[in-house]
């Protein structure tokens, strides 16, 4: 423990919180982006492989990652392109799949409290994916102060990993993982592992009802409708549960 912790008489938790709040945006951003880089590169590699296997050129795969930067909808784009879907219909379908992202910015700003800032929001919002949102939220819950520098490093670090992974996968080609089923299985589990780890990082007993309702609604929406409906149902049902639960139960929730 450093001198400040001793002099102010803080307990271990308070001291850890203070140290996290004092960490520079650059250092905090680099620390938070590491799991995203490690998770994004292999998934993007899989995307590049899948895209070239489905007949897209390497340039087309990279173009999708460069402009869209939304993992799940990019995999869907491969299927839509390969299936010959009309461009406008396919574009709107992909955009609809990403509509859940409207909740992410306000949620982070609400968590930022007095530190909220949006001067560069037009820039860091571009990279506000599911995983970047989850990592940012996890850091804020642990005491990291919000800053736009932190968001830029987090978002564009993840973006760089996504582009590099896509390029590597496209370069490797469509059959790159055919002889490596164990590697393929590990890559397939990378995103679930990342989301589970992020969930654990923000988990507290107060949020259990929100999480359980969100999970149940996701299963029901997917089962009776589609994967996209399941995503919407889970997020909205969980958030509504947070509203309807007694306020003391969610006032500190992520």
């Amino acid at each position: 423990m450093g001198a400040k912790g001793r002099l102010t008489g803080k307990g271990p938790d308070e001291y850890r919180l203070t140290m996290m709040q004092q960490k520079s945006p650059a250092l905090a951003g680099l620390q938070a982006v590491l799991p995203l880089v490690l998770g994004y590169f292999p998934i993007a590699f899989s995307f590049g492989v899948a895209a070239t296997r489905s007949g897209l050129t390497g340039a087309e795969a990279i173009c999708l990652s460069l402009i869209v930067f939304a993992g799940a909808s990019q995999f869907l784009a491969i299927a839509l392109i390969a299936g010959g879907a009309p461009v406008l219909v396919a574009g709107l379908t992909l955009a609809a799949m990403n509509l859940r992202h409207v909740l992410y910015g306000p949620t982070l700003l609400q968590k930022a409290g007095a530190d909220r800032a949006t001067r560069l929001g037009w820039l860091w919002a571009f990279a506000l994916t599911d995983e970047v949102f989850g990592a940012a939220l996890g850091a804020l819950v642990k005491g990291q102060r919000f800053s736009e520098g932190f968001m830029l490093i987090l978002g564009f670090g993840a973006y760089a990993a996504w582009l590099a992974g896509t390029a590597a996968g496209a370069w490797a080609g469509g059959g790159a993982l055919d002889g490596w089923p164990a590697v393929s299985a590990g890559l397939d589990f990378m995103l679930p592992a990342l989301f589970l780890a992020l969930l654990l990082s923000i988990l507290s007993g107060k949020q259990v009802p929100v999480i359980l309702i969100a999970a149940a609604a996701t299963v029901a929406g997917t089962w009776f409708g589609s994967a996209t409906l399941g995503l919407f149902a889970g997020m909205i049902a969980g958030a509504v549960t947070g509203v309807s639960w007694p306020s003391r139960e969610t006032s500190h929730a992520g």
């Binding site: 292999p42 897209l56 955009a95 990403n98 299985a185 592992a193 929100v210 969100a214 889970g234 997020m235």
Partner: protein
């Protein structure tokens, strides 16, 4: 590069960007800490991450039963690794490695 792929990327990319950016312009500074909107947004984070985890798991759990062993191994590895080190990086890598190792050992 085919023009239709570029058009698709531009339509999907532009709208996705608007979903992410436009809500930032909403002024939330005068939101009551325990008001409906604040509670909705506070619950959105855990709800979103739980939803995304379940959405990622469902296709894996719809695979043949023989293939689900490696998923169970991966989940257990994430839980154990996070309990041990409290690190998202370590837990993510441990889960993926355990799942891949289980597949290599025949749980696939």
């Amino acid at each position: 590069m085919r023009a239709e792929v570029l058009e698709l990327a531009l339509i999907a990319g532009a709208l996705t960007y608007l979903w992410r950016y436009l809500p930032l312009r909403a002024n939330l500074s005068d939101t009551a800490p325990n008001g409906l909107l604040a509670r909705f947004l506070a619950a959105t984070g855990p709800a979103a991450i739980a939803t995304l985890f379940v959405a990622e798991m469902l296709p894996l759990l719809q695979a043949p039963l023989a293939q689900q062993g490696r998923v169970v191994v991966g989940v257990l590895a994430v839980l154990a690794a996070y309990a041990w080190r409290r690190s998202v990086v370590f837990a993510t890598l441990a889960g993926a490695c355990a799942c891949g190792a289980a597949a290599a050992l025949g749980l696939s």
